[in-house]
């Protein structure tokens, strides 16, 4: 009795609060003081000459997400897609069930999601709180047109144990609604209806395809595509509406056909009294949206949605202006100014070298070597600052115009990394003078710039005095996360790294890192139950020690021939392995294709991570194919022998944006059986990298990245060798340079 009273009371209270909140938002919509920062909007009839009327690149806030982190109403999906490239992170909670979702809009019509969820008090499959991971994929079948709604097909939790497995077709149509606030203009009503299988067909089914669908059983190894179940069993119609009366506020209502059988009938997680859900959401900022809901006639829920658009930085990039090019016609007026005898004088060339090195240093660039000729100068430099290599090339070119004698007409600019010349950009000085202020300055200079294979270092090159031998060190914090241990889904260690390196000559590097852990809980991770050699799963044993040697190695990079790059490394590579490693890469400067081979003989390190080793030794190596698919997509295929001695291949697909954002996914299939592999059946995961420059708005090459695997096992694992070739080489090759040509003049 008390319980039902309190429930009614609770519902009444929540409803009252909801009505008051919504009304206050609606009637305050015109007030200048909205809650939260300014958001992007399409104002009604803005006055000409204002910023509101001017062209805008910032997109409107993206569509709202549902509890599964994909566009939708509350617990059901809609057909909408997010803006291309959007990286959406969301959290939702109701009735003891929490879901952490990451959705990436990989293509304008295709998105993929990863979810980590916890169901409290499920008390099934041997867990009190049941944690699981799942992947979704959604594809838009057609776009909204005059009469036609947008239609999307979705596979929810389509692989693995499939606690949330469902498939659906859903259609969404948008309508304009009357103006409620002058500030935000007309509202919008989105109406969605769909047909769902699996979970979405468990309530109010109207038909059946292919008989009974097996019910969910947790605790299996999972990881296999459950395609034999897709669009099988009962199907039911679901639907909902989202009304946006103003540009900050959304009201949502839906009819959900998820009966929550496992949660409410098999177990007792919450009580499902109704199929209707209601919610209100608030667009706090362009990227953040918050929502409160009343679900299934008994539960209160909430969600927080953060949508990052890699194409729109958190802080706009600001780079100090470079000096304008002063055309030679302004200062080289006499015969003597055009004299060509200066390269013969070492004194003269040393002065030029030092002036240029000083100017480069001011721009954050490092002079490696320079070759002087009366009409042609080749400059080799390192770029530790600019994420865009084309921007560095442009700044080098400007510096050359400022300091070199008038007789030099051809500039050859060669970016160097790890002692390797990556490419040579050839540009004529008169083109620089003519194009700087042309109407289409970027395309203009791009059309007359040649990008060719890096020329071998000339014999009479003048080296920078300060560079070799060079000693560098840094003292900086580190973090080491670990995910999805059933006892604690997220663990982290952190502390300080002392990293030092010594470069005795171009291409040579001796590097090492000492690590001191300050705090963390990875040491409490469950012990490995793997039947394979424990090449990766002994993380808790490795985490028992506070002061460790993270790596210590000697490496050499060189170019054995045209378009060929080579690396040899020996020493301690990473936390768990040391040994010897060799790599050869073929990458023509103008080709989207690259081929590589890598061979390693490695010994597993002792758990204390000093100089001793365990007994496990193995050969691991791969042949790799890299291909730039266009539109910033990169494909990588590897085949070979992995750390546990298993043979197989890895497929990786990454989208690397021009500004350095990267999102990708991979999977590895080897000859280890699903049973031997353990949970997950095979190795897979996704990764992302957020460039620091994108966050801070200052030029910077660094970024924060993570690789997340639903389960870390021992099959399909590779050794992490420092200084792998492909990534840094392609950055200064033709495709990447041309993609970023707009940065040449900045």
């Amino acid at each position: 009795m008390t319980r039902s009273f309190s429930l009614t009371f609770r519902i009444a209270l929540v409803t009252a609060a909801f009505v008051v909140f919504t009304a206050s938002l609606l009637f305050n919509a015109d007030a200048a003081q909205a809650w939260g920062p300014e958001i992007t909007r399409n104002p009604q009839n803005p006055a000409p000459g204002t910023d509101e009327a001017a062209p805008r690149f910032k997109p409107l806030p993206p569509p709202a997400l549902n509890f599964y982190g994909t566009p939708g109403i509350i617990d059901t999906p809609s057909a909408e897609m997010l803006p291309d490239g959007t990286y959406a992170v969301s959290y939702s909670w109701f009735g003891g069930q929490s879901r952490y979702n990451i959705t990436f809009q990989a293509l304008p019509w295709l998105s993929a999601s990863f979810r980590y969820n916890g169901i409290r008090n499920l008390n099934l499959f041997g867990f009190s709180t049941y944690y699981d991971r799942g992947f979704d994929v959604r594809a838009r079948l057609w776009q909204e047109r005059r009469w036609l709604p947008e239609v999307t097909m979705g596979l929810q939790d389509f692989a693995g144990t499939g606690v949330y497995a469902a498939e659906y077709f859903v259609a969404t149509k948008r309508f304009q609604t009357p103006v409620l606030s002058r500030r935000s203009g007309p509202g919008e009503l989105k109406s969605s209806a769909g047909l769902g299988w699996g979970r979405l067909g468990t309530h109010g089914a109207i038909g059946n395809i292919g008989g009974v669908r097996p019910s969910f059983v947790g605790g299996g190894t999972g990881g296999q595509l459950s395609y034999d179940q897709w669009f099988r069993g009962d199907f039911a119609p679901f639907g909902g509406i989202e009304w946006q009366p103003t540009d900050r506020l959304s009201l949502k209502a839906e009819y959900s056909t998820d009966a929550y059988i496992t949660e409410t009938q098999v177990s007792d997680v919450f009580e499902r009294k109704s199929a209707l859900n209601f919610g209100v959401e608030y667009q706090y900022s362009d990227r953040t949206r918050l929502g409160a809901y009343y679900l299934y006639g008994s539960e209160i829920g909430f969600s927080a949605q953060f949508q990052l658009n890699p194409k729109h930085p958190l802080t706009p990039m600001v780079v100090p202006a470079a000096q304008p090019i002063i055309p030679r016609s302004h200062w080289a007026r006499t015969e003597a100014d055009w004299n060509q005898n200066w390269p013969a004088s070492t004194q003269q060339t040393t002065v030029f070298r030092d002036q240029i090195a000083e100017a480069l240093k001011k721009d954050g660039l490092i002079l490696e070597a320079i070759t002087f000729d009366a009409t042609e100068v080749e400059l080799r430099y390192r770029n530790p600052r600019y994420q865009s290599d084309m921007q560095a090339v442009g700044r080098v070119a400007r510096i050359m115009t400022a300091y070199l004698p008038a007789s030099v007409e051809t500039f050859r600019i060669t970016p160097v990394r790890s002692g390797l010349g990556l490419s040579t950009v050839t540009v004529r000085r008169s083109d620089l003078e003519a194009q700087e202020f042309a109407a289409q300055a970027s395309d203009g200079i791009n059309a007359v710039t040649a990008i060719t294979a890096a020329r071998p270092l000339s014999e009479d090159a003048v080296f920078s005095d300060e560079l070799y031998p060079a000693f560098s060190y840094s003292f900086a914090p580190y973090t080491k996360p670990s995910y999805f241990d059933p006892a604690r889904p997220f663990r982290i260690d952190f502390g300080l790294d002392l990293v030092a390196s010594y470069a005795p000559a171009p291409g040579w590097l001796i590097g090492g890192a000492l690590r001191q852990r300050l705090a963390g809980n990875i040491a409490n991770t469950r012990a490995s139950n793997s039947v394979l050699p424990h090449v990766r799963t002994d993380i808790s044993r490795y985490a028992q020690y506070g002061t460790t040697l993270e790596n210590l190695y000697v490496t050499r990079h060189w170019k054995p021939g045209r378009d060929l790059y080579a690396r040899a490394t020996g020493g301690i590579f990473e936390t768990m392995f040391g040994g010897i490693s060799g790599e050869l890469l073929w990458k023509p400067v103008n080709s989207p294709l690259a081929l590589g081979v890598e061979a390693n003989y490695v010994i597993q390190r002792d758990y204390d991570q000093r100089f001793s080793f365990l007994d496990y030794k193995t050969f691991t190596g791969h042949a790799s194919l890299y291909y730039e698919l266009g539109s910033n997509y990169q494909l990588q295929l590897d085949a070979g022998r992995y750390l546990a001695g298993d043979y197989g291949g890895t497929f990786s697909l990454d989208r690397v944006f021009n500004n350095g954002w990267a999102v990708g996914a991979f999977f590895t299939l080897t000859n280890v059986s699903a049973a031997d592999f353990g949970e997950g059946s095979f190795d897979k995961g996704f990764r992302f990298r957020i460039p620091l420059g994108w966050m801070l708005g200052k030029p910077n090459r660094r970024g924060f990245g993570l690789t997340i695997r639903p389960t870390q096992r021992d099959g399909g694992q590779r050794v992490a060798v420092p200084g792998r070739l492909y990534g840094s080489i392609r950055e200064a090759h033709r495709i990447r340079l041309k993609d970023q040509r707009v940065r040449f003049w900045e």
Binding site: D51, F57, E433, A476, N521, N659, K698
Partner: protein, 241 residues
């Protein structure tokens, strides 16, 4: 309400992040030609931000004609409308290229720069979302816009790509206007360039550029020009003597 393990995790995560942030701010350092790590760069940025906050905004310059007469080099006064910031830019270079019109490049002490062709903005540097280049309605011997027609802005977007804004413009002569800039009186004509285009999803966009042109001197003394979606409108006055 959240599951205890998860909320504990969130707390731990927050504590870890705060510690890390504190460590990056205080305990990171680097030396030598190798690239600094992300944590070091983040620490540097935070320290720079703290310094900036402590320093507070710079005191506004007190400007009058006598003060301006001390400088042999011409200067521009530029107000960024969006942020209400005022900057003073000195002339660095005046030159010609293959296209008609005189190019002037001006730069400020904070490493930002603007370039004009016959008084019309064609490039910004050192500002967010730079205007890389622009095609402007220029004619030899005429200050300011010489005719209507198509106008193009080439801007650098957040993903390091070129984004082009194409507009169709009309010029209106709003008549003579007497202008005062720090005790100097100039007789100018007020020209207004009304440009229209189509934005995302067919949205109609409008850019208005205003120029106060001295037809005898062939000089734009004052203008209000659009510099792209990130920067917005600039109000520019020529302070030269």
């Amino acid at each position: 309400m959240i599951h205890p393990a998860l909320s504990r995790t969130a707390l731990h995560l927050r504590a870890a992040l705060m510690t890390l942030l504190a460590l990056s701010t205080l305990a990171s350092c680097t030396k030598g030609p190798e690239e600094a790590s992300g944590a070091i760069e983040l620490g540097r940025s935070i320290r720079a931000l703290i310094q900036e906050r402590r320093a507070g905004p710079a005191a506004p310059l007190q400007i009058n004609r006598a003060f301006l007469e001390q400088f042999p080099q011409p200067h521009l006064e530029v107000i960024v409308e969006q942020s209400d910031l005022t900057g003073y830019l000195g002339l660095v270079l005046a030159r010609q290229d293959d296209l008609p019109g005189e190019i002037t490049t001006w730069s400020a002490a904070d490493n930002s720069a603007l370039a004009f062709r016959n008084g019309m903005l064609i490039a910004t540097r050192g500002l967010p979302g730079n205007l890389i280049s622009a095609s402007v309605p220029v004619q030899e011997g005429t200050a300011g816009p010489a005719h209507g027609g198509q106008r193009r802005y080439y801007l650098r977007s957040g993903n390091n790509q070129e984004q082009v804004v194409t507009l169709a413009c009309k010029i209106t002569d709003l008549g003579p206007q007497q202008l005062e800039i720090y005790d100097r009186i100039y007789r100018t004509r007020h020209l207004q360039e009304h440009c229209e285009g189509r934005g995302e999803a067919g949205r109609k966009t409008v850019v208005l550029n205003d120029y106060w042109v001295d037809s005898q001197n062939k000089k734009v003394w004052k203008s209000r020009q659009w510099a792209g979606p990130e920067i917005g409108y600039l109000r520019i006055r020529d302070l030269s003597n």
